[in-house]
């Protein structure tokens, strides 16, 4: 907390110093109250969600008027979770989202780092223009492209495995690939890798080339092993939107078996709403991300901070 130092340095003597020390404590205390107050504001709704997921609906509403709303007490059970798996194909949605996010992250790391490697390390004609064009795409919000993109993916040919062998069909609507491939290449990931690769001394690949290493080998054995932080950043910045994606699958996936977790929320509002179940499903689809966040906190914070260089 910022502390007011009232007395100028040369005038500092014993009495004024005691005065400032006192002021320091008071302001410090105010700072801690503010911190804690904000903490309650951010933490309590999430606790409310988690705690409510363990209670029957009647008790959720009964507990609202006391602190019990935030405490796992009373009639606690996992009934809501059981009901969630009964009522909607929650397991299927979870598996879909895990698969889609994992493939998008893995493919994104590969494709974007390869491009960044070429742009940072190799002499390719027109690479300045390519880099500028890639950076230019950053100003386009996805929301402005989404609608034309729905129409466009509906025109793309799709290779599908049927009982008659491989078959070309028109349109990517209702597939896994439409939820993955458009999000693999990412201008910001390329930019981040490029920045990071620039900081790795080029003498390292010169030395590897002397030893007869090819470009792909330099990429794989010299540059990538040194790029852990950049890989973590790109992984997190790709994973979060992939897991949270809602607008896109809402439009391009109609078949239940292909749906990701976020679109699954619609199922809970079709008949009579059970809020305990809604909170259970919400907790269920939030838990994987929170677990990853707690485990890789430093990387999360670094990757968000690095998105501060955007622009």
């Amino acid at each position: 907390m910022a502390i007011a130092e009232v007395a100028p340095a040369h005038a500092r003597q014993v009495p004024p110093r005691r005065k400032t020390a006192k002021k320091k404590r008071v302001l410090g205390l105010g700072g801690w109250i503010l911190r804690a107050g904000l903490g309650v504001l951010f933490l309590f709704p999430i606790m409310f969600m988690f705690v409510s997921s363990l209670k029957p609906d009647q008790q959720i509403f009964g507990d609202l008027s006391s602190i019990a709303a935030f405490l796992p007490i009373g009639n606690i059970s996992l009934d809501n979770y059981v009901a969630v798996f009964d009522r909607v194909p929650a397991a299927r949605f979870l598996i879909n989202s895990i698969g889609i996010s994992a493939i998008t992250v893995a493919a994104g790391i590969l494709v974007n780092s390869l491009a960044a490697f070429a742009l940072s390390r190799m002499r390719v004609r027109g690479k300045a223009v390519i880099l500028t064009l890639i950076i230019a795409t950053l100003i386009v919000p996805f929301e402005t492209l989404a609608l034309p993109l729905v129409w466009w993916v509906n025109q793309l040919p799709s290779l599908q495995l049927t009982e008659f062998g491989f078959l070309f069909t028109k349109g990517w609507i209702d597939t896994y690939q439409v939820q993955i491939i458009p999000f693999v290449a990412n201008a910001f990931s390329i930019y981040l890798f490029h920045q990071y690769f620039e900081s790795i001394p080029k003498e390292l690949d010169e030395a590897a080339r002397m030893d007869g290493a090819g470009w792909f080998r330099i990429y794989r054995q010299v540059v990538m092993p040194l790029s852990g932080p950049a890989i973590a950043t790109v992984a997190i910045l790709t994973f979060l939107p992939a897991w949270n994606s809602y607008l896109w699958p809402l439009m391009v996936v109609q078949t239940e078996e292909l749906r990701p977790v976020m679109v699954g929320v619609q199922y809970f509002f079709q008949l009579n709403v059970s809020w305990g179940q809604v909170m259970a499903y919400s907790t269920l689809i939030t838990l994987p991300v929170v677990a990853l966040f707690i485990a890789f906190q430093r990387s999360f914070v670094n990757s968000i901070a690095s998105s501060g260089v955007k622009g």
Binding site: M1, A2, A4, E5, A7, P8, A9, R35, L38, G39, F42, L43, P45, F48, M49, L64, S65, A69, V111, N112, L114, A115, F117, L119, R123, V124, V140, P141, T144, L145, A146, L147, P148, V150, W151, P182, A185, A187, M210, G212, A213, F216, L240, Y246, L247, L250, M251, V265, S282, T286, V289, F293, I294, V301, I304, A305, S306, G308, K310, G311
Partner: protein, 315 residues
């Protein structure tokens, strides 16, 4: 993708002096390898960003439908004429304008206060950073569901209002009242997003050299003076970045609306992206939706150019 061109084992002496002829040969293979490495990313970006962007322009002047047996027909500026006569589109523009005008200063300001509160490496600040950041890792869909529940007439927020004011104030039916629906969504959106921008302010704060503050302390500067003359100017780059990103995010408002209000009550929460999705997806009018997207893009572009210009002037 593995068009690796293995170089012949290098002969030390000529390699060291890099004779030009040898370099020509290697640069050709280098060029080919480089293009091969670039190809997947460039191809995908072309397919899913450049082509849709061009399509947005093209389709906006046609009557294209999402699924239609007939090919799209050029209709000139019909879509735009219809758009500018559309009352709900104007309502959407007004709503996102309102949303952005409140959310941008509120979220940026609160995020800065929080960043300053957790900047010092005192015990416990890591814990608070984590807690403030929790809503950010919670998806907007989940946050919307949670607040949809808390905003009910008999929900948590109204119960708390009732208890705190000892029954003097009865909370409104937040999301079903045209005067409170947008403020309710604003409050929730700030709650969810503010931790993100706190981290960005923090990374900005950490670039300000500590000796500036030490010098200010020696000169007996007050907390406000230190903020006004060191922190605030030191954050100018971060500030313009944060303003631009929050503005664009605010103008793109969609998920909260889709989950919580579907634009209602009486269009009081409809947004530009929500209107585009309604016409382009629900009614399958791709041409009209592209026109909305195009107008939206122009607005976003204009605002970010103006913001950048203004912040550059001041800096």
């Amino acid at each position: 993708m593995t068009t690796t061109i293995e170089r012949p084992p290098a002969v030390p002496a000529p390699r060291a002096t890099r004779p030009t002829r040898k370099r020509d040969r290697t640069s050709k293979s280098e060029e080919r390898a480089g293009l091969a490495m670039l190809a997947p990313a460039v191809l995908l970006l072309a397919l899913f960003i450049f082509i849709p962007a061009i399509l947005a322009f093209g389709l906006a002047f046609t009557n294209a439908r999402l699924i239609s047996p007939y090919p799209a027909v050029f209709v000139g500026v019909d879509n735009f004429i219809r758009l500018f006569a559309d009352a709900s589109f104007f309502r959407a523009l007004l709503n996102v304008g309102y949303f952005a005008v409140v959310v941008v200063p509120l979220q940026a300001g609160l995020a800065l206060v929080m960043a300053i509160l957790v900047n010092k490496n005192v015990r416990g600040t890591t814990f608070f950073r984590t807690v403030y950041f929790l809503p950010v890792v919670t998806s907007m869909v989940v946050v919307s569901l949670l607040w949809l529940f808390m905003y009910r007439q008999d929900g948590l927020i109204n119960v708390i209002i009732d208890r705190v004011t000892m029954g003097l104030i009865t909370g409104p039916d937040w999301l079903n009242d045209t005067s409170t629906s947008m403020p309710a969504i604003i409050l929730m959106s700030v709650w969810q997003g503010v931790g993100f921008h706190m981290i960005i302010w923090l990374s900005g704060l950490q670039t300000i050299p500590a000796d500036l503050y030490e010098a200010a302390d020696l000169d007996g500067a007050t907390a406000w003076q230190r903020f006004r003359y060191i922190t605030w100017p030191g954050l100018s780059a971060t500030r313009s970045l944060i303003l631009v990103t929050i503005t664009i995010q605010a103008l793109s408002l969609f998920t909260q609306i889709s989950v919580m209000t579907q634009g209602g009550p009486l269009n009081s929460t409809t947004t530009v992206v929500y209107e585009a999705v309604q016409s382009g997806f629900a009614q399958q009018e791709t041409g009209y939706a592209s026109a909305i997207s195009l107008v939206f893009f122009v607005i976003v572009l204009l605002i970010s150019v103006v913001q950048r210009f203004l912040s550059r002037e001041k800096a």
